[in-house]
Every structure is written in structure tokens, then in C-alpha cells.
Amino acid sequence: MSFSQILLEALESLSSNKLRSGLTILGIIIGVAAVVAMLAVGQGASDSITGSINGIGTNVLFVFSGESAGPRMRNENVSRNITQLSLSDAEALNDDVAAPSIENVAPVIQGLVDASYQGVVSSTNAYGVTTSYAEVRSINIVEGDFISEEQYLGHASVVVIGPDLAESLFGQREGVVGETIRISNQPFRIIGITESKGGSSFTNEDNQAIIPMTTARDRILRRRDDVVDMIYVQSIDSESANLAADEMTQILQVEHKIPVGEDNDFTVYTQQDMLNTAAQITGILTVFLGGIAAISLLVGGIGIMNIMLVSVAERTREIGLRKALGATKKDILIQFLTESSFLSLLGGFFGIGLGWVISYAVGKIAEATGNPFYPTISISAILLATIFSGAIGIFFGIYPANRAAILQPVEALRND
């Protein structure tokens, strides 16, 4: 028989029990949709995180206190006193002779605060920074100015805010320079608004309040002595990022008096390190989500096997007749495999559609809740889902189809 006839016959047979075929397909639809949606969400999360890491600024490295995570964390040295990063560390890094690859240095203290304007309260990230922060982090000011040297030295109560924060406080993204808002109940005058970098779920740089570190230290984000939370470092170009990281490590080892062979009490991160870490995390996330989704696909496959077994039992007499009329084992095997693959593939196609809808919905929900990221359905995910659903149809169809094929015609015909 030609392929089109086999397919046509499978279609006729499946359409004779539409409800049952439909429900079987539903199992595959849900499985494939789950896999497609989960892969899309994973991909979207990965893109979003990668985007926000890239958004940190080119050539940017940073260093913060504490050892890098790893097995060494668990040894006895964990409890030793570590030297916090400080402003003097930042100054030491900003040394053209010891660190020729470092262009600029920006120490930062940060914390979550409440900002308010006329009773409207919004939670935001406050950054206490020096004047070099704008350059290091590639922050552009669309309206007003960034913090000046005088304002920094004068402990001025001024703030540069992101457009999202402006919107939540004022209901508008511009035209608010000169207004006074309260941050942790202290009045601050808005002197500038940053350019939107596009929101991300990871670190939304459009919702932030940047204030002079001197002021922050006095009133908002208190720190012991001249301790800072982290230091951003800009290398002279992206090629010298690793060189800059080495220079930073050497300088800080000296500054923190770390004996040779001891673990560092700080961690230097390049943008590439972050991208690698993020890729690892999102990779695990995607595999995890995809794995859970694959279980539902497996259940869908078992559903197909179940229905095909019922179908074989129900059509024993038909199989006997076909064999009496000259159908070989192969003919019967192909007939039933075609039916199961067809069910599965059809479920696969609808599942891809549903998966797309779910991904779209997840994207919309994420956007509505203020953590926008964009689930991406890749061609490879669609291909994977199609091949996988076809394979499931064949794999779970083989057992029932074989049961049908090896039926002895005499016994099959006797069945009623």
C-alpha cells in the first residue's frame, strides 16, 4: 500500500472515535506544550539575565568581600576575620603605575530603601556612589546632571533617579528634576534622571536612586569606617579585562595583607565570569524545567500506548479479517504504528501552538508584574518537540502494534 493510503486509512480509523483520539492527543499536546513553554521560559530568562549582565557596562569588573563560592568555603578558614573592602582599597586600585589596565574605579554602597513623594511610596535600590560611577557604569543622564564633585564633598542631599522610579512616584518618566522626594524619610532634591536601559528581572537599573556616598553614609546606608559593599572597576578596553582582574587581585592581596598561599578574602568578577555563571544557572534551570515537562510528555506517551492497546483489543476481528485477506505482519504493524505516530505528531503540532501561547502569556504576566522578560521559542525547540513527539508515537506504538501483528488469523477471527 502506498503511504498516502496508509495515512488515509489511519485517519479514517482515528476519526471513527473522535473523542478517544482527541483525549489521547490532549495528553501529548499538554506534554509538548509544557516542554516547549519551559524551554522558551528558560531561554527567555537566560536572554534576560545575559542582557542585564551586558547592561552592567562594557569592560566592567567588580570586586566584593568574601571568598568565591566553592568547596573551600567549607574549610575551617571560613570563620577567620576578613578585611572588608574600603575606600582606601578603591584608591589603591586607581593607581596608573600599579594597575595600568585599570581606567577608572567606582566604589559603591547599596541598600533597599523606601522612596516617597506626597504619600506615594515605592521601594527602590539606593546606591551611594562617587562621581566616577556614571562613567564606569555607562550611565547616561537624559535630564539634569549627575552628582558633581562639590555635591559629593559637600554631603549634598541630591539624588539621580531612574525613569521607572520617576514613574512610580510621579506618574511620569521626565520633567521631575528639581522636585524633592523623601528617601528613608530624608528629603532629597532630584538633580537628574538616567536614560532607560530597559528593565530586567535581574537588576532593574531603571528603578534606582543614586546619591552621593558621603550623604548615604551619613543618613541612609550606614557603614562602619570607610567600608564599601563593592567596587566597580573599568578596564581600559575589553581585551585587558583579565589583565585588570590580575592587577586588582595583586593590589588587594597586598592591601589586605593576605599571606602567600592563603585564600583571598575578596572575589574579583569579570563580566565574562558573570555570563558564565549565569549561563550555568539558566542552563540548570532550563534542564530542570524541561525535565519536569518531559515527564508529562512521557505520561502522554503512555496514554497513547494505553489507547492503542484498547484499539487493538477492540479491532481483533478486523485484524483477523485483514490477515485472512492477505495482510502480512508488516502491513498490520505499519497500520497501527501509523495511527499512533499520527496521534502523537498531531498532538506535537498542537502542543507547539499551545506552548507558544503559554510562553506568550508568561511573557505578558512577567511584563504586567514589572519583571519583563521575553520567552523565546527557538527553531531547535520546535524541531526537538516534533521529533520527540513522533518518536514517542513510534516507541509507545510498537508494543500494541506488535501485539496486533502477531495475532493468529484463526484466533482473531474467532474473537467477538
Binding site: 502506498s2 493510503q5 485472512a324 488469523p409 477471527l413
Partner: protein, 227 residues
């Protein structure tokens, strides 16, 4: 030797039913000439069905030899038997056994499809249906046809591949006597026109009396032959 389409020698068939061995056929021999119309009769449990299954190549004998159309078929593989059934045997069942969702044409086409025929199937199926008097019911499905009409479709299906023998298992058993007689006349007429050998299993002496020969089976052997 005359032109024998079926030669069976010393056929034995033993079933295992749990712990008990059932000897359905105990050394049965018979010959059937090409073009003959033969009735096979016998009470249930006589081995009649087993004989029919063996003659129809649906089942293999435990021992003994069976020549169908000059070819020994007693020790062929399943797929070889499927080919023999397709080319040499036409089946007519008591309960018609049509595919319920398929039209008359599709039902009649089925053996042609399994024989790998690609061109001209439909025309051949139509010709077969016309020859059984169903030229005006080509696209009807079984549930749109009367019992007699359904059996006619089954007859068309049995003869569409020009088989050497047609095996009819109680072909009139599910029909009232008038329609049954029509079917019987159709079968006899086809035999006359095309010379196809006809083997009819029946309980009905009236049917048997219309055949050229009646073979009575009893306890797994041929008990008596009447001509």
C-alpha cells in the same frame, strides 16, 4: 490424475487446551477438483472448522500434506501463507466481516491493496460489485445495506483477486431463507461463469443438496461422501 485444486493427505491437527490434547483432525485425506462445488458438513466438534481453517491457509496442520493449486502449503511461513490467502483464497463469512466504516468499493478493494496492486484497483472492485448485482450500491457503507447486500459485497471481495478457491463458511447462516437462496444462486452462478472452485461449510441439507458433492466430517476424518 484429474485437475485437483486441493489435495490433502493424512492431515493431523492437534491443539493443546490446557493439559488436554485435542485431536481435531486425525489423518484426514481428500481431493477437490478444479471447478467443483463442495459442501462440507458435520456436527460441531467434528473438526469441520479446523479443516476449513487449514484449507483456507489460516492455520497450519500439525502433520500431513496439503497441496493448493499444485503447491505444497503445509509448511509455509506466516507471511507466505498471507500471500497465498491473498492470491488463491477468497473468504466468505457467516457474519460478512466487512469493514464498517468503508464503502462497498473500499471493502472490495482491500485484497487488491494487500496484493500491492496500484493501478486499476477501483475499476476491478467496481466490476466485481457489478458482477454480484451491486452496481448501484458502490459508495454505500455496510450499515446502509441489507444483510443480503452485505453478503454480496463480501462475495465480490472474495472473488476480486480471481482466487483458485472460495471458502464460504455458513454464507447463508445470518440470512432469511429467501435471501439465503438468492445468495446461494449467486454463488452457483459465479461458479458456472468463472469456474471458481467453491467450498461451502453448512449445516443446511438444502444448501448441501445444491452442491455437486457433500463431504461429511466426523471425529476428525471424512465420514461419508455423497455425490
Amino acid at each position: 490424475m484429474a485437475d485437483n485444486v486441493i489435495v490433502v493427505e493424512d492431515l493431523v491437527k492437534t491443539y493443546q487446551m490446557g493439559d488436554i490434547e485435542v485431536n481435531a483432525l486425525r489423518g484426514l485425506s481428500l481431493t477437490i477438483e478444479r471447478g467443483e462445488v463442495v459442501a462440507v458438513m458435520g456436527p460441531s466438534g467434528s473438526g469441520k472448522s479446523t479443516l476449513m481453517n487449514t484449507l483456507g491457509c489460516l492455520d497450519r496442520p500439525t502433520s500431513g500434506r496439503y497441496f493448493l493449486d499444485g503447491k505444497e502449503v503445509s509448511d509455509l511461513s506466516d507471511d507466505q501463507l498471507a500471500l497465498i490467502r491473498n492470491k488463491k483464497v477468497g473468504f466468505i463469512f457467516q457474519s460478512f466481516n466487512l469493514l464498517p466504516r468503508a464503502t462497498a468499493i473500499k471493502n472490495v478493494e482491500l485484497p487488491l491493496r494487500y496484493s500491492g496492486m496500484r493501478e486499476g484497483r477501483k475499476q476491478k472492485a467496481i466490476d466485481a460489485l457489478i458482477s454480484v448485482g451491486l452496481g448501484d450500491r458502490l459508495d454505500h457503507r455496510p450499515f446502509e445495506l441489507s444483510g443480503g447486500q452485505q453478503q454480496r459485497v463480501a462475495i465480490a471481495r472474495a472473488l476480486v483477486n480471481d482466487p483458485a478457491i472460495i471458502m464460504a463458511d455458513e454464507p447463508t447462516g445470518n440470512l432469511d431463507s429467501k435471501v439465503g437462496q438468492e445468495i446461494m444462486e449467486l454463488l452457483l452462478n459465479l461458479n458456472k461463469v468463472s469456474g471458481t472452485t467453491l467450498i461451502i461449510v453448512t449445516h443446511d441439507p438444502k444448501i448441501a443438496s445444491q452442491c455437486q458433492r457433500a463431504i461429511h466430517i466426523m471425529d476428525g476424518v471424512v465420514d461419508e461422501e455423497q455425490s
